[in-house]
Symmetry: C2
Subunit: 191 residues, 2 copies
């Protein structure tokens, strides 16, 4: 069945948008936010400058859009792990490890870019979503006896998110795994 | 023995300085940074405006000086607990609880004031000092068998400081104590 013209247009627009996001993020990571111009992005993405401006008004808004896409990708990845196989304890472990690795990777952004990316409301929204999501998984775990029930799932979720932020300063994958193990020990029912 | 003239001057200057710091902090906490002027501070401190300017150039620098004094007070308090009575496990518990309460109190500063106070290098310096200090106490605890030794004291110190930052969003003292208990569980030898 041939595609409708509208679908083709929509697909094309999405492909251009994705290419612009990838190109811009790569340029900014390599050269820093200040060194990247709209002309440079247009050139590297293989589109005209005028076309680029139909998609985005400036470099900052491209980076915010890229970050929104990153975050929704991460939330999607964590949701899949949450609903994966195994008991709540195992699934929690997979979710916390994946979250810690995300924290470790994202640390490379640098202060200026970090401030820009956190200006939008999408980060606060994602954090709230994550807190809610972890709370439910922790409540499941408490019911199954994998997780302590003398502290509320909400307080435990906040403990996890703060503790795992320490991954941002860790250099190796094994250090991140140790951090996850220490955090999980805190969540277990007390001996 | 009568005091030397220089000592009297020095004492007087310190008393004026302390009064200015207290007054300014109280005014800023009540009315917000933007609403407080140098004239208002001079009036409330009971000194002339010209005298105030001999001590500080503006409201921001008073607040930074106040914050430096707060931080060194906190570090002093934590150092006393560290060198207090009892085994390393007990002393660690007292230090972590005191640190968590400091985190809870300081959360009231608000975003604008928080950004100002963290601009100076003194906060980074204090954090480094605290990390070093906790690392030593954790190493002592590991040697005494109170603290796990499968993860380095440095990584455990970073875990503690991040986890206890969650106290900033906690409303009650008992919630802070639960957070400290969960964090301590993470530090205990596994199994």
């Amino acid at each position: 069945m041939p595609k409708l013209w509208n679908e083709t247009i929509e697909e094309h627009r999405r492909a251009v948008r994705d290419a612009v996001l990838e190109t811009t993020a790569a340029l900014v990571m390599e050269h820093g936010l200040r060194a990247v111009t709209m002309s440079k992005i247009a050139g590297e993405s293989g589109i005209g400058r005028a076309t680029l401006y139909k998609y985005f008004p400036d470099v900052e808004s491209i980076m915010v859009a890229w970050h929104e896409r990153q975050i929704s990708g991460h939330l999607h990845e964590l949701a899949q792990l949450r609903h994966g196989p195994g008991g709540p304890g195992e699934r929690l472990e997979r979710v916390l490890e994946a979250y810690a690795f995300i924290q470790q990777r994202r640390h490379g952004h640098g202060a200026e870019l970090g401030a820009l990316l956190h200006r939008g409301g999408h980060v606060a929204g994602a954090e709230q979503h994550l807190q809610h999501f972890l709370r439910e998984l922790l409540a499941e775990g408490a019911q199954a006896g994998d997780i302590r029930d003398d502290v509320s799932p909400d307080e435990l979720a906040s403990f996890c998110l703060h503790a795992l932020a320490a991954a941002g300063a860790l250099a190796s994958k094994s250090a991140v795994r140790r951090l996850v193990a220490v955090t999980l020990t805190g969540l277990r029912p007390p001996g």
